[in-house]
Amino acid sequence: METQSYTPVPPGVGMEENFLSLDDILLSHERLPCRTESAFPRLGFLEKSADTRDIPEGTKMEMPLWLAKGLYERKRRTLSVDPPKTYRQGWRTVLGADPNVVDLHKMGPYFYGMGSQLLHFDSPENAEIAQTVLQTFIGRFRRTMDASQNALDADTSALVAPLDALERALFRAGQAGLAAYQRWEGGASGRIEASGLVVNYRKRKLGELQA
């Protein structure tokens, strides 16, 4: 049985992040290709390739999303952000043709989250990115749903592997619903169970002993 008493802060999904969500914090740790549009004095040590004291204007560097979001301003340019290649024309065409053939876990794993976050940065491609992200979700929905309704004892690892973080969360929600129903059908629903925390805690302790 899943531990019901602990429910983590859910991710914001879309353009707004949820401040305390661990998922959103990890999403905003993903790196984006950026170009500095002004110098950053005294921060040269952050750039491995350069041994100058400053980060000069025009440096190409990768920055985590949170930093790019924080530094980015429409009025006074200190930074410009390029969409990563998974959101550019080439991949958009691939996703448009058949979203189901793509391994979004490898491409992400926060494909939808990052795609939505990119819209914070001005780009002529934004409208198309938003469209691709939405259509990809819709196009893959059937597969996510069918996977989640798969027999619980079946090996789902191959089905889950190409799912992005958001799809995985949906997959788990679907499986939980199915599991609860099947438990009821099998007559075990009224049974009081040991807490999942207790069971897993004991497993972990056993694992430590054996290690």
Partner: protein, 184 residues
């Protein structure tokens, strides 16, 4: 909701029993029950019926629809119709399970009934999935859930609501100017 909670609600449905004991009318918060006379049919909630049955105090009369002929008609209709066909009881699945598990000796052709109800359930759940998919793929904003039962909705509730929420958020992305930037 846990399915056991749905079952709990189903236990309030009325069912006819034939008691083999006598007892005056009893007065409960949920309503009056009885009087009970040996051999005379009386309506009681399922929870009481099952309790009496377990103590061999009564025979349970299966509901009208719990009948091979009727269920076959329903199954037929369900597979023909594209929408969800009307179902004889909002708790058909729960009642079938409870009555068959505890009173199968009072229900003729119990095994056939079990299979038929399972078939009906499977057909309806497959339909539910199909309509969820078309709901998402056509970017619908609302859907009619006529004739769906609580147990059916319950198995897919979290999944469907979370999916719709995702779709809504990703759709909101399409509207530029909705940019509420928060610099964390």
């Amino acid at each position: 909701m846990d399915p056991s909670e749905v079952e709990f609600l189903a236990e309030k449905e009325m069912v006819t029993i034939i008691p083999n004991f006598s007892l005056d009318k009893i007065y409960l918060i949920g309503g009056d029950l009885g009087p009970f006379n040996p051999g005379l049919p009386v309506d009681v909630p399922v929870w009481l019926a099952l309790n009496l049955k377990q103590r061999q105090k009564c025979r349970i009369v299966p509901p009208d629809w719990m009948d091979v002929g009727k269920l076959e008609e329903i199954k037929e209709l369900e597979s023909k119709e594209e929408t969800f066909a009307p179902i004889p009881s909002p708790y058909y699945m729960e009642l079938t399970k409870m009555l068959l598990n505890h009173a199968s000796d009072n229900i003729p052709k119990a095994d056939e009934i079990r299979t038929l109800v399972k078939d009906i359930w499977d057909t309806r759940v497959a339909k539910l999935r199909l309509s969820a998919d078309s709901f998402i793929s056509q970017l619908e904003a609302h859907a009619k859930l006529d004739n769906l039962t609580l147990m059916e909705i319950n198995t897919t509730r979290t999944f469907l609501l979370d999916s719709l929420n995702c779709m809504y958020k990703l759709r909101t992305n399409l509207q530029p100017g909705s940019d509420k930037s928060n610099d964390y």
